[in-house]
């Protein structure tokens, strides 16, 4: 294992320590969790400011107005019209002052207009038109019951997809009471929806578990990389410091646990 530079060791140990701080919330809300949570709120906001500046304003606004100078309010630059969105953007900041907050409505209106205008045809096409076109599928009537076990390409499956879509759509239909023949359609619709939600449920459970699995791998890699008794005293003290803090806290909680005769205090 190549010698790990002390700097990287310190940073990886900090990462592992903060991971354990967040996990301590599972036991109960405590100081370590609060520190880590508030720290990440600040760091992520600061990170966002930098990314907005370097990747947002810098190339799209400052570079465009580079050749002008602030004396002429950059109007003498090659592309002076870029000043207008900058002004509109600055107008957005009046949202906080009670008196001037109506000024911020102009840029918001401009933005909402363009955003909704662009959205209408594209959402209609990609969510309604294309799905309608796709649901008009000609089925494979020859292979109606499909080959092998539960063949998704069989005619029957295609029929279930078509009728299922219409029934589920009908369930979200609010202008007709679900009585008589419509009761059957709505019932079949909600059944299809429930299977669909079940599939999402199964996938979500897998998704959440893999988040925790990755955290174990992260801590595991950290211990594998840093646990090297021969790498000198400095490393070992920090290694034990990380786990030591939580060990002391765990002992304190266990003593409290037995003193209250097995009742975990919330």
């Amino acid at each position: 294992m190549e010698a790990m530079s002390f700097g990287t060791f310190i940073w990886t140990t900090l990462g592992a320590f903060l991971t354990l701080c967040i996990f301590s919330f599972l036991y109960r809300d405590n100081v370590f969790y609060k520190i880590a949570e508030h720290l990440v709120v600040g760091v992520s906001a600061g990170y966002f400011v930098i990314i907005l500046w370097h990747n947002g304003l810098q190339p799209n606004l400052f570079d465009m107005l580079k050749d002008g100078n602030s004396y002429f309010l950059w109007l003498n630059s090659a592309q002076p019209w870029y000043v207008i969105p900058a002004i509109l953007g600055a107008m957005m900041w009046t949202r906080f002052s009670k008196k001037w907050s109506w000024v911020s409505r102009w840029p918001i209106a401009l933005y909402m207009g363009i955003a909704t205008g662009v959205a209408v045809p594209l959402e209609m096409k990609n969510r309604v038109n294309l799905q309608l076109y796709a649901s008009m599928q000609s089925l494979d009537w020859g292979n109606f019951f499909g080959t092998g076990f539960l063949d998704a390409a069989s005619g029957l499956s295609g029929l279930i997809v078509f009728l299922g879509t219409l029934a589920a759509l009908f369930y979200f239909f609010f202008s007709k009471e679900h009585t008589g023949m419509f009761k059957g359609a709505a019932r079949f619709g909600i059944w299809i929806l429930m299977i669909g939600f079940g599939a999402s449920f199964g996938y979500t459970v897998m998704g959440r578990i893999s988040l925790f699995v990755q955290r174990i791998q992260y801590i595991g890699d950290w211990t594998k990389v840093t646990w090297n008794p021969s790498s000198g005293g400095g490393f070992i003290t920090f290694w034990f410091l990380t786990f030591g803090i939580f060990a002391v806290w765990a002992i304190y909680e266990i003593i409290k646990f037995f003193r209250n005769r097995g009742e975990i205090t919330e």
Binding site: W11, G46, R105, P107, Y111, P121, Q131, I160, T165, I209
Partner: protein
């Protein structure tokens, strides 16, 4: 003045951009690109608002010694530390050296990533405890949901032996037939909902975003 012009603006730009989609001609495209460039800039200023409100709330908490105020100090500390590192200790404002700053990347790799991914991994535990104490087959529909979920969860389980293949086939059939029908209906519903909301905003029916006079 305060209401009429913004509503007119929304309507004009909205209608223009709807029909711009149907006009491929070069001039309509040029106008369309022109406004795209504007929106980036306006949007970035708007996002800065969120940051400003975070600073204001945290500073207010510290100034008035509200409960948990030292934690608000940590938030502000983290924020300004990142800004200092991001501008490469205020040496480079208009060039992107700040992004390569050692401390800036270290804070991101070893503070932001571990905490954020661990924050969400807590959910694995909450799902485990909810699975035990709350996920009930209280009705026929909930039973159907749980059964379909179990099939998907057992899909890659290697210990099913003979049933393994059938479980995989059932799971992929379930995903490609009933699940597809359900999600197609939901996508259509969501699509119509989005278009309806956009139209309401454009026609000035929905004025929530303008805020109160």
């Amino acid at each position: 003045m305060k209401r009429q012009i913004p509503l007119a603006l929304v309507f004009i730009f909205g209608i223009f951009h709807i029909f711009q989609y149907f006009v491929p001609h070069e001039s309509s495209e040029w106008l369309y690109e022109f406004f795209l460039k504007w929106i980036y800039i306006i949007g970035i200023f708007a996002l800065a608002l969120g940051i400003w409100s975070l600073i204001r709330v945290s500073w207010d908490k510290v100034k008035h010694r509200r409960p948990n105020w030292p934690y608000a100090l940590i938030t502000l500390g983290g924020l300004f530390a990142m800004i200092i590192f991001g501008f490469d200790y205020f040496r480079h404002f208009f060039t992107a050296e700040g992004l390569q700053n050692y401390m800036f990347r270290a804070f991101f790799d070893y503070i932001l990533i571990p905490i954020q991914s661990t924050m969400f991994s807590l959910l694995a535990f909450f799902i485990a405890s909810a699975a035990y104490r709350a996920f009930r087959a209280r009705s026929l529909l909930a039973t159907l949901l749980l059964l379909s979920a179990l099939i998907i969860m057992l899909r890659f389980n290697p210990y099913l032996g003979f049933f393994g293949d059938y479980m995989e086939k059932t799971a992929s059939w379930l995903l490609n037939v009933p699940n597809l029908a359900a999600k197609r209906a939901i996508i259509i519903g969501v699509g119509l909902g989005m278009v309806a909301t956009s139209l309401k905003v454009m026609l000035g029916i929905e004025r929530q975003y303008l805020g109160k006079d």
